[in-house]
Structures are given as C-alpha cells and as structure tokens.
Symmetry: C2
Subunit: 354 residues, 2 copies
DNA sequence: CTGAAAGCGCTAACAT
DNA sequence: ATGTTAGCGCTTTCAG
C-alpha cells in the first residue's frame, strides 16, 4: 500500500502491477507491450502522477534551469534582456533563475562559482565591471557561462557585447547633421562597463566629426533621472552656449529634458537631446526622445542561444570562446527633429497589459 | 581513487580518510573531533568542494526555490514586483524562478499544476484573469501558492490585492478639488483583473463625488501608449469639453499626454492628466504625471513574505487563507498641479545604473 | 518485453 | 565520536 505524499513511480508500479522499470519506460516513451502501456498510463492518470524533477535532475546530471544574473532587475535595459532570455529559455524547455547582484562585484563572482552547486546548467552574466578577479573566476568557471559585456580576448568564455562606440557615433553624427556643434555629454560612472564604453564612444565620434573635445561639456555622475537633471543644470551654467545634449542612457536624457524645460529652453529648437538604450522611457518623454538602441533584447537573445548551444550535445572537439557584437540602431524622434514621431504612431504596441 | 567529475563527499572522505557521514557532519556544523574536523575541511578546500544542491533537495524534499509567474515581464508594475520578491527571497536564502505566462490562462493553470514537479517550494502567481478553472486549480494546488489579485472568498489560497476603488477615488477627488468636472476615463480591457477593478473604481468615485457618469467620456481598449493616444484623440472629438483625463495606467496616460500635446492642449491648464501605478514612466513624462501608486512593490513584498511563512515550520493547526490589501497612495505632479514636482527634485534616485 | 538492481550525492538513523 | 547503511525518486544497465 502506498502511503502519504505525492505519487511516485512506485505507487504507479504497485497500482498497475508492473515493475518500476516498466513505469519509467512507458512514461518516457520507450517501447512496451500495449497492455502494459495501458495499465501504466491509466494508473498514472488516476493517481495524478507528476514526475519529480529533482530526482530526474540528480540522475540526469542537469536541471534544465538557466541562471541570469543582472546588477539591477529594475533597469529597463536588463528588463529587455530578461524578457528575451526568458523567451528563448522557455522555448528550449528551460526554466529561468533570476539573480540580482545589486551591482556588487563580490556577488557576481559568487554567482559564477555557485554554478558548481549544480542548481542550474548554465549562466548568463551581466557584470557591472570586469575586474581581474572576474577574469580569474570566469576562466575557472565550473560550468558554461556567457557574459553580456566586453570581455578581454583570451578569457575562454563566450561574450556578446554592445557597440557603444558606433552607437555614440550614430547619435553624434545625427546631431551634427542637424546643425549642432556644441554637443554636451552626460555620462554615468566611468568605471562601469557601460559608462566607460560610452565615454570612449563619445570622444571617438567627436574626433571622427572633426569636432573639438571640450571637457567642460562633459559630466559623469550617476545613471539616473535626478543625476541627469542636476548635471544639465550645471552644464547650462558653465556652457550656456551648448546646442545639444547627448546622454549615456534614457534616464539621464529624461533628466536633461526636465532641466531644460525648467529653464524655459525649447527642445529641439534651443537644444536637441538624445539618449541611449531606446527604452520605454524614450517614448514617454515630451518631446519623444531620439535614442540609440544598443540592442539589449538582441543581446539577451544571442546570449541565451549561445549558452544553449554550449549545453547541447558536446560532440567532438571543444568549441573556442566566441565574441559577438550587436549592431546599434539610431531611432530618431522629436527631441532632435521637429517633425518626427507623431503621437500614437507605430511601434510601442504589443499591448503590455497592466 | 576518485575519478572525473566534480568532487563529492566521497572524494572528500577518501582524501581525509574518514567516512562520508563524518564529512557530512562536519560540513553541516554538527559535532566532530577537532582532528577530524580539520582533515575534512582541509580536504574539502583542496578539492574545491561545493555541495550538490540537487542531491540535497532530493533528500530534504525542498529546493529553496520560489516561482514567480507574471503575465508579462516587461510591464513596469510586474517589474516592481519582481524586484521586491527577489529581494525578499534572496534575504531568506531562496532563489527566484521567473516564469512568464504571456497573459495566457492555460499557462497560468499549468504553472499552478507544475508545483507538483517539486521544482520550487512555492508559487506567487499574478493571474491576468480569474476563471472558474483558476479557482479549481488553486483549490487543488499541489503546493503553497499566493495570488496577487482579487480572489473570491472561499478559495483556500492567500491573496494580496490592490485597492483600485480607493485608488481611483483618490485621483478623481484630487481632480475634482482642482476644479475639474468633466473627467474622462481611459481604461484597458475590462475583462482583466486590473481593467475590471479600475472601471468599478472610477464609477464609484464619480458617484461619491456627486458627478454624473457619462459613458461618452469612457473608453476601454488596450493597455498601451498607442491605445491611450488614439483613445484620447477620439474622446477629444466626441467630448471637446472635457477638462481632465484619468487613465487606468501610466502608459495610457503617456498616450493621453501625447494626444493632447499633438492638438496643442496645455497640460494641466486645458486638461489635467492622471495615471495609475506610479511607474518610472510617470516622471519621464512632461509635465511629470500625477499617478496613483497602487503599491506594486509592496504587494510583491507581502506576497513573498506570506509564501515564506507558509513554507516555515508548519507547526500546529493549518493557518486559514489570508487576504490582504495594499493601500493606494496619490502622487501629485505637474500634470494636474501647475507648481508640483520640480525637475531632479527627490525620489527617483537610487542610482539604477545602465 | 519486462523485472531486479545499481547508483546519482546527500542526510539521518542506527550501530559501534 | 565515527562508521555503516538505508533511502529520497528516478533512469538505466543487465539478466531473464
């Protein structure tokens, strides 16, 4: 007699009058005499049997779970990644473990090492920064990892990165074409991956356009609406002649817009504003923000796919670490171009309910 | 000699020259002779041993994983919930499994049933709608569940809900106090939990204020920026005398603002606009949106805590299902009140990086 | 085609 | 204090 607890293959075996091996076979679609097959299926249904995934994992050596570790789940960029990764994972029959590192380097390293506890089959990691410890931990990773960010060559780990340099160039060129010459740059912390890359992108783009680099037009504080507003307020005092503000992300751009509005500047007439990431915030602003889509969703999707490939049948020789880069895309809206993007026009549908 | 694969307690036992039981005891902090303790710890460190979480789960009967199932991970409201739930879970030593149901009822039911596979110890579910099947599945849930939404009494499952009625009342009263009388209402689908509740809230609030209910001032389509813009464009044709637009969420409100701007209406002078959810979008808009905070984060936090309580030592008699409601909070900004919310003022900090 | 039995890695009796 | 052993639920040889 089977006692309490949920039904197991043993309960089914007893009820069907067969061995547990037969139960397992039938349930896994291996051959069996129709009679046996029938008895087992019936018993399973009657008992409301559901296979214990943990036991399966222990036997099989894999959990069909993927971990995605991000600095901050609230950030729109990471949200876009989560969304895509979750979709890819689900389609491949994997569950998604979401881990917030709270932008803490030690935690990031911990996540990599915790691959060893076999809780998930692989990891997609978005590091806030790449330290020597990262390189070390990643090199010795006890399981498959894909990094979203810029990893040095030589680290034997797949990576998918954004092209901030080209992205910034797109924005700067666009502003220059629109007749702007004194283009301020509002950045976040330069010692983070995104901050550092975007700073380089801005300088490079300026040079490429033959424009001088004026440190007085550049600020770097925090990524955030308030930081953007304060930075621009300061810039407006120091460089009242600026005619455009390029921001390292949309939050900063929102802050910039607010600061400009507060002083009665018209956008884009008096100053154009451009952001980066093309998040939902961009369309929420007024005027709607021109923004560079750095392909967050695309990066997430690719990272997930690469990870899945590593998990597939590891036949043959070891595949070397791959590097791939998502192409940036400029999305022009009213904040830089008077006529652009009428209200309720296109995109942004897809009915996110609430 | 221990062969390939990651180290297990057996490898450690061999190396330390003790039994696997001793290894387990030492590693779990149970008593042992200092000498033994030492040998084990040393061996474990040298081998880089990490306990296999799957094996532990199989033995212990729990995974220390929680599942959070939402209709759409991209929605700011759910993002706020994820953020809090993840924080609570992490603090309690649980991992978070994120599941997107894509607003599909069948998937929601599937998630509830899949509790039976023992992959996670409990579930927080945000149903898009509550059908009789939901009630049935929830009643027969093979594990602890907490629902975020309005569950009928009698369903033996914990639930935490928003108070849309009071929330809508807060907004409507605020608008009335600001001198508005013809308050339009832009809603999403009425057959969803949020849509239905907000519709009731609006009607109730109107009645409480002694204002007539004019169906011509009400629209219900999709939750989304574009839908909001189109709805308001239509409203402006049908009821050009409106002096305020109350929207069932911030996306709709953003759309409303755009439609009004497009026609040259000034906000809030010609028409005030208020939204719901107080998401990041609210501060991104210009003017910043007055919005009703329905306590998404708070609901997430409470749901997680309730679930954790169920998972705790189930000593004594069974605790009956609990219902709790998060109090709404009106956040007044420039879209209804000319002076409010200067740029880069307060909140919104917390430096979400990018 | 089917059953018996081993074993995934760990914990917890039970015995010494 | 430590070792031996059973067993969590399942898959998979290996015999029959």
């Amino acid at each position: 007699m089977s006692s309490g607890g949920p039904p197991t293959i043993v309960s089914i075996a007893e009820r069907a009058g067969v061995s547990i091996a037969s139960v397992s076979r039938v349930l896994n679609g291996l051959g069996a005499r129709p009679e046996t097959e029938d008895r087992v299926r019936r018993a399973a249904t009657e008992l409301g049997y559901v296979p214990n995934a943990v036991a399966r994992s222990l036997k099989g050596g894999h959990t069909r779970q993927l971990t995605f570790a991000v600095p901050d789940i609230g950030n729109p960029v990471y949200v876009a990644m989560v969304r895509e990764i979750q979709a890819v994972a689900k389609a491949a029959g994997y569950r998604l473990l979401l881990h917030s590192t709270d932008a803490d380097v030690a935690e990031e390293l911990g996540v990599v090492r915790s691959l060893a506890d076999r809780t998930s089959d692989g990891l997609v990691l978005v590091p806030i920064r790449i330290t020597p410890e990262h390189v070390e931990a990643l090199t010795a990773a006890p399981g498959p990892v894909v990094v979203i960010g810029s990893l040095p060559d030589g680290v034997p780990v797949d990576a998918v990165q954004a092209d901030s340099v080209t992205g910034a160039a797109l924005a700067v060129h666009h502003l220059v074409q629109a007749g702007r010459r004194r283009i301020a740059f509002v950045n976040g912390p330069v010692d983070t991956v995104p901050g550092g890359n975007r700073a380089r992108g801005y300088r490079g783009a300026l040079a490429a356009c033959g424009l001088p680099y004026d440190p007085g037009l550049v600020t770097a504080t925090d990524f955030g609406v308030g930081a953007g507003a304060r930075a621009v307020a300061r810039l407006l005092d120091a460089r009242p002649g600026l005619d455009a503000v390029f921001c390292a992300n949309d939050q900063l751009a929102i802050g910039a817009v607010q600061a400009l509005h507060a002083r009665g500047w018209r956008i884009p007439e008096d100053a154009a504003v451009a952001g980066m990431d093309d998040s939902d915030l961009a369309v929420a602003a007024w005027p709607p923000l021109t923004s560079v889509d750095l392909g967050a969703g695309e990066r997430g999707r690719r990272a997930a796919r690469m990870l899945l490939e590593r998990l597939g049948p590891g036949d043959g020789e070891p595949v070397p670490a791959r590097r791939t880069t998502a192409a940036p895309r400029l999305v022009v809206r009213g904040s830089t171009s008077p006529g652009a993007a009428p209200a309720g026009s296109d995109e942004q549908e897809g009915a996110r309910s609430a």
